[in-house]
Structures are given as structure tokens and as C-alpha cells.
Symmetry: C2
Subunit: 132 residues, 2 copies
Amino acid sequence: MAESTGRKRTTAEPRLHGEMLATSLLAFLKGCNAYGYQLSQQLSESGLPQSDSGTVYRALRQLENSGFVSSFWDTSDQGPARRMYSLTAAGELFLGTWIEALNRYQEVLTGALAGFDVPAPTEGDSTEEEVT
Amino acid sequence: MAESTGRKRTTAEPRLHGEMLATSLLAFLKGCNAYGYQLSQQLSESGLPQSDSGTVYRALRQLENSGFVSSFWDTSDQGPARRMYSLTAAGELFLGTWIEALNRYQEVLTGALAGFDVPAPTEGDSTEEEVT
DNA sequence: ACACGCAATCTGCAGTTTGCATGTAGCTGC
DNA sequence: GCAGCTACATGCAAACTGCAGATTGCGTGT
């Protein structure tokens, strides 16, 4: 039945998807330029749910494609060349826009936890829930 | 050409993906039981970035699959039957866990906007960023 | 010198998720 | 009866994800 193979968030373990990963990356890059490997590790240290390193690299590439970051090969140091990323003006703009949406999102969530419904429902439903 | 069919976040228009959609739904259901169509509209009215209604219905199904919501057919009213959803205990738990992760996430983002880097980077980078 | 491991990036694959368009079913208005 | 709205569901192609593996460059142990 199409449900055994995939991992469907059955555990209470959040993951960092799509825009959330992208914007976290953008946020780190606002602080300081960095390369993929470093960003991948900063994610781990930040207490944020982690993504695969391959996913991080690909996200960075897409961000560059969208014009939100720019990159250049850094060979100034020893070891394999690093692709240094830095935030662009468009990236900062997007980050700001996203944060606004995020604030609304968090309002909804914390509002729900507080026990009242944020938007007025069309009809009063049955089962007024008891707040824990 | 490669941008008419596929949408690759090139505009500064956030979308609600994966867990974010799921948890928003959960949050609404904490306030009051509801059915898919209603939830889809609440999303629009909440100022949150929207998802396709088909996506909403599917998200609801997955949530039910995971045991975070339960549903029954409501035929008490006129019109086509509605699938009424309500939050389960597991759903509330998941919501709480998610909110904690979200707080960390938001710390990172807003910290970045403030102009300082949240975690201390391994090496001092070049380009001390100018705060806007 | 050579194997080994680490740092750093990239890619193939299979499975999942998404947006869009469309399809079904029931009720309302004309 | 036909159009239109509510409410839910599904097919499809494109996109995204995690995992595993490949690649390059450097340092270390023996």
C-alpha cells in the first residue's frame, strides 16, 4: 500500500526542509562569508535540525542560481579549493521577506499552544477544547 | 526557458513547505476542529504563504496516517460530505516539539539580521559585514 | 613510497513531495 | 436541465531529499 518504504514523519523529530534550509544558509552568510562544508557544520552546531551535506551543497547552488548568493573559488589556503559564498543584496531582501512570513507563522503556532484560535472561525464548532 | 514550468524560488515570495504546512494545519486544529476546505481558506486569511488545496488535502491525509489528526465524515450539514479533522494527543506533542525547533531557527535568522553571527565561526573570515 | 584518512565538493539513484490541472459528487439558483 | 459553487480526490511532470559513492588535495604513519 504505498506507505512502507518512505519515511513519513512518524517520530517527533523535525527536519529542515526547503526554504528553511535555504534561509538558514542565507542567515549564516549574513554573518560572514563561508563555504559549504563550514556551513554544513555550523548547522550542526546551531542546534538546528540538520540536512545532508549533499543537500546543503545543492541548496547553495540553487541559491546562487536565484541570485541570492555569489561564489568564487578560494585557493588561497592549503587543501582542496573551497567555493566561497557570500550574500547578495537580493539575498538579504529575500531573507527579510521570509522572516516576516515566519513571524506570522510563529504567531499561529504559539497562538495555538496558548489555547485560543488565531483567526475567527466561520462557525463555532462543537468540542471547545480544554486547554491543558 | 527553464522557468515557465518549474518554479524555482526566484522571486521573493515564500512558500509553505512540508513541515511548515503540516504544523500550521495542526495549529489550526488545536483551535477548533475543521475540514480541509475550511483549513485551506484559513491559511489564506492568516497571512501565511499558501499552498495548493490539493496539497492541503494530502497533507491532512498524511497527518492522519501519522496519527497526528483523526477524521470522520460529517454529513450532518447540507452539501457534500465533509471530512472533519481533529487534533490527537500525538499531534499536540508533535506540535510542541516542532515549536521548540522553530524557536531555535528563528533565533538564527533574527540573530543574523541583527548583524552578528550566532555561532562563533571556526576562523575569522574576511569581509567584516556592515550592519545596515 | 604507499596506503590511509580527512577536508571539501559533487553526482546518481530511488523514493517522496509539490503545484497544476482535472475529475467526481452534492447542492443551489435560474 | 444547466451552470456554478462547495468539498474532496487524483494523475502527472517537475522538483526536492537522503544516502551512498566518486573525486581531488593534503597530511600522517610505518
